[in-house]
């Protein structure tokens, strides 16, 4: 079972501590990433359907047998298809696009923004620095 409820750093005393195996924490993390095959859009950690119960059990069994997270994901993918993984694999052009696009957009957008700015900016001496509060009453 999940190990601990830590305190906020601002409080002097911990809220509560209950140490149990890190394996259960791993199992629960995995259960939140595997999609129930009988429900609308729920991970097996939430679903009340019977098959989700069996899938949860399968995760626990595999962990007790020493399987790694990756092996467990692969097992479920092999059995139910890519559909059950809420964490899609970066595989094939689609997978790479999905995982790469946000970061490419960020870098590309920054470059574009910098380019636009350079295109219209004057030399550094011409630019006046104005403290933000000086314009606080604006128009």
């Amino acid at each position: 079972m999940k190990a601990l409820i830590a305190a906020l750093l601002f409080l002097s005393a911990p809220i509560a501590t209950e140490l149990e195996g890190a394996d259960e924490a791993r199992a629960q993390a995995l259960m939140r990433e595997i999609r129930c095959v009988a429900c609308e859009n729920e991970p097996i950690s939430q679903s009340t359907s019977e098959i989700a119960g069996n899938m949860r059990e399968r995760v626990r069994v595999m962990i007790s047998e020493g399987a790694s997270d990756e092996e467990i994901r692969d097992w479920f993918e092999g059995r139910y298809g890519e559909f059950v993984l809420f964490r899609p694999k970066a595989r094939g052009p689609g997978g790479w696009l999905l995982w790469g696009a946000p970061f490419l957009l960020l870098v590309g957008g920054a470059a574009l923004g910098y380019g636009v700015m350079r295109g219209r900016s004057a030399s550094a001496e011409e630019i006046q620095a104005i403290a933000p509060e000086d314009l606080s009453d604006g128009i």
Partner: protein, 647 residues
């Protein structure tokens, strides 16, 4: 009676179309009158719908399909918008309400034709919504053979937060329709400038605040009603409301540059158009049912298609107008990359990329299906893309919010870097070393603290001395509150997601189990009956130290809808919520046992409270100008006799 409502809605449609024509021709007076009359007609129309629900008039198909005589009064009323047709009627009511508000409040000095055109575009948007209501999803259809009893409202929706959630969300979505109208009017009149930005800022906030409230109410509802202990699931419907919110946040920041410096005009207009497009896209995603979701309760594919066509027409027209007029817009004075302008551009970049990420993740399963690949995109994807991208902006925020317009003097940047490194080190050492929480969570807490301290520091910097704090403009207070709210939210979200305790209990009467420091005992189990449901109600006692609380989670069954719901029991304490949901009854070796899902959600209120602070900050920053001026005058008269040097 309902025919009167039907007639009133048709009248509202005609009036809105007229308003559109008069407004676009530049006639402020008639357009305003027509907007008020259209709103009046729609109020009558919507009132007849509510009346039909209250009276349980099952000759109306909508009531027969969605109501029940035994339903409590509040949910009879709220049931009016708890379904597709009724919610579209509410959408129209709110659209016309914004039109009426615009007719009364929109008085840009010396620009009556701008106001008229804005009202005109708003009229066209309203006419489009009303046409969709009347021709594609009419709530006014009668049944030839009315049933004796109705099919009832989905019991999950019979909840106070959910009665308020759709109106709030619609106020936000539809609020952006008025922002859209202002953007279109600005393009038509070629008057996208500082005055324009000032006007749009108030209206954009009038949409942003209720949208925040609506999203939060939805999250709170999901938290206590769905019984999973969580508050955000990266579900398509949630994402659909998050996207306009993110665009709205980007717009708020871009408009600052347009108002103060006249820059970013093109970009602000584009965002104003996009905010509305994403609102309709959100409605389309939710209504069409093309995405599987746990939240969508009123789904119809063909109507989704009509919505999509509407989006293409309105969005396309606006973007076309934008393409023609954008090159004519003027930029502000020049600025260097490292400047307040540059910082706000960075803010916009991050928010737009974050929106694009949410859009990509939400639509990707659909796209992949087109290529014959069945995929799911869920929480892990957003955690690993959206969250780090947003963190870039959050780390920079306290540093750049003090930057000056034009260009910035970077001599102090090392102090900032040292302060950030210091906060991270302290939190990492305390968190990982002393309290044994994961490193990423400790750093997340450091980020929250960084945001809060940074905001307070900036507040102090602007005030110069403490006594002057009370004389700061309201906008500075608004900004500070919003950014502190962001920090509070980050802390709540980090603690809640990383330290949530989750377990399944299996108990017979009299059994005790330990849950996160609490000892929970199952005392009693009985069947109770409500107005339109009966339920299994468990009574448990939770003890911690000398404290003892009674908790009663239920599993309700609504016979009319043939559906069970979970009524969770939540005990709030300063450190977090103890959360119990009743599961199944089982018989093991002749003994009756019950399963419960038990959670301890630490500091979850900070998540909701943080968003509330953000909304409050927004609200304060656009408090009526008159109030701000009155304050200013008061402080000036107070300041002068004291003989303080003017700045």
């Amino acid at each position: 009676m309902i025919e009167l409502g039907h007639f009133a809605a048709i009248l509202a449609l005609c009036l809105s179309a007229l308003q559109g024509m008069q407004g676009l021709r530049g006639r402020r007076g008639p357009a305003g009158m027509l907007a008020l009359m259209a709103f009046g007609a729609m109020v009558v129309s919507f009132a007849t719908l509510i009346w039909a629900f209250v009276r349980s008039d099952f000759s109306l198909a909508l009531v027969a399909n969605n109501s029940h005589t035994l339903k409590p009064f509040l949910y009879k009323v709220a049931g009016t918008w708890g379904n597709h047709e009724g919610s579209m009627a509410l959408w129209c009511l709110v659209t016309l309400g914004f039109g009426a508000a615009g007719a009364l409040l929109l008085k840009t000095p010396e620009r009556p034709s701008f106001d008229a055109r804005a009202l005109g575009v708003q009229g066209l948007v309203a006419a489009g919504s009303l046409a969709y209501l009347l021709f594609a999803s009419s709530p006014f259809l009668r049944l030839v053979d009315p049933p004796l009893q109705g099919a009832s409202l989905n019991p999950l929706l019979q909840d106070p937060a959910l009665a308020l959630h759709p109106p709030m969300l619609y106020l936000g979505y539809v609020g952006y329709s008025f922002v859209f109208a202002l953007a279109a009017a600005g393009l038509i009149e070629n008057s996208v400038d500082r005055v324009w930005a000032k006007t749009v800022r108030s209206w954009a906030m009038a949409a942003f605040v209720p949208l925040s409230a609506g999203i939060t109410l939805g999250a709170i509802w999901a938290y206590y009603e769905l019984g999973w202990g969580g508050w955000w699931f990266w579900d398509p419907v949630e994402n659909a409301s998050l996207m306009p919110w993110l665009i709205g946040a980007a717009l708020m920041h871009s408009l600052i540059v347009t108002e103060k410096r006249g820059g970013f005009a093109v970009w602000s207009v584009l965002l104003a158009v996009l905010a509305f497009c994403f609102s309709i896209l959100g409605a389309f995603l939710v209504r069409s049912g093309i995405l599987t979701s746990v939240h969508a309760f009123a789904v119809d594919p063909t109507r989704g298609l009509v919505l999509l066509i509407g989006l293409l027409i309105y969005g396309g027209l606006a973007l076309g107008l934008f393409a023609v007029r954008a090159p004519l817009l003027k930029g502000g004075p020049p600025w260097a990359a490292l400047s307040r302008e540059g910082a706000l551009m960075g803010n916009n970049l991050v928010l737009i990329v974050a929106t694009a990420t949410v859009l990509l993740g939400t639509l990707f399963p659909l796209i992949a299906e087109g290529f014959g690949r069945q995929m799911s995109v869920g929480e892990p994807y957003f955690r690993l893309t959206f969250v780090p991208i947003m963190c870039v902006a959050l780390v920079a925020l306290p540093v750049v919010q003090a930057w000056s317009w034009g260009r910035v003097d970077l001599s102090a940047i090392w102090k900032w870097a040292a302060a950030f490194a210091g906060i991270c080190l302290v939190f990492a050492a305390l968190g990982v070393g002393l309290m044994d929480i994961p490193l990423f969570a400790a750093l997340g807490l450091a980020l929250g603290a960084w945001l809060i301290c940074g905001s307070l520091w900036e507040l102090k910097r602007r005030a110069v001395t403490w006594p002057r704090l009370s004389r700061l403009p309201l906008r500075v207070w608004g900004m500070t509150l919003a950014h502190i709210g962001l920090g509070v939210f980050v802390i709540g979200a980090v603690v809640e997601t990383s330290q949530r305790y989750e377990t399944t209990l299996d108990m017979a009467l009299g059994d005790s189990t330990r849950v996160a420091g609490w000892t929970v005992t199952l005392e009693d189990m009985r069947t109770v009956e409500g107005p339109n449901w009966f339920s299994d109600r468990a009574t448990l006692t939770a003890r911690r130290g000398g404290q003892s609380v009674r908790m009663q989670p239920e599993k309700r069954y609504y016979p009319a809808a043939r559906m069970p719901t979970t009524e969770t029991a939540i005990h709030k304490s300063p450190s977090g919520d103890l959360y119990l949901a009743l599961g199944d009854r089982r018989v093991v070796d002749g003994q009756v046992r019950w399963t419960f899902r038990a959670y301890f959600n630490p500091l979850i209120d900070l998540v909701f409270g943080g968003v509330a602070l953000m909304a409050l900050g927004g609200l304060i920053s656009v408090l009526p100008r008159r109030l701000a001026l009155a304050r200013k005058r008061a402080t000036e008269t107070e300041a002068l006799p004291a003989g303080e040097p003017a700045e």
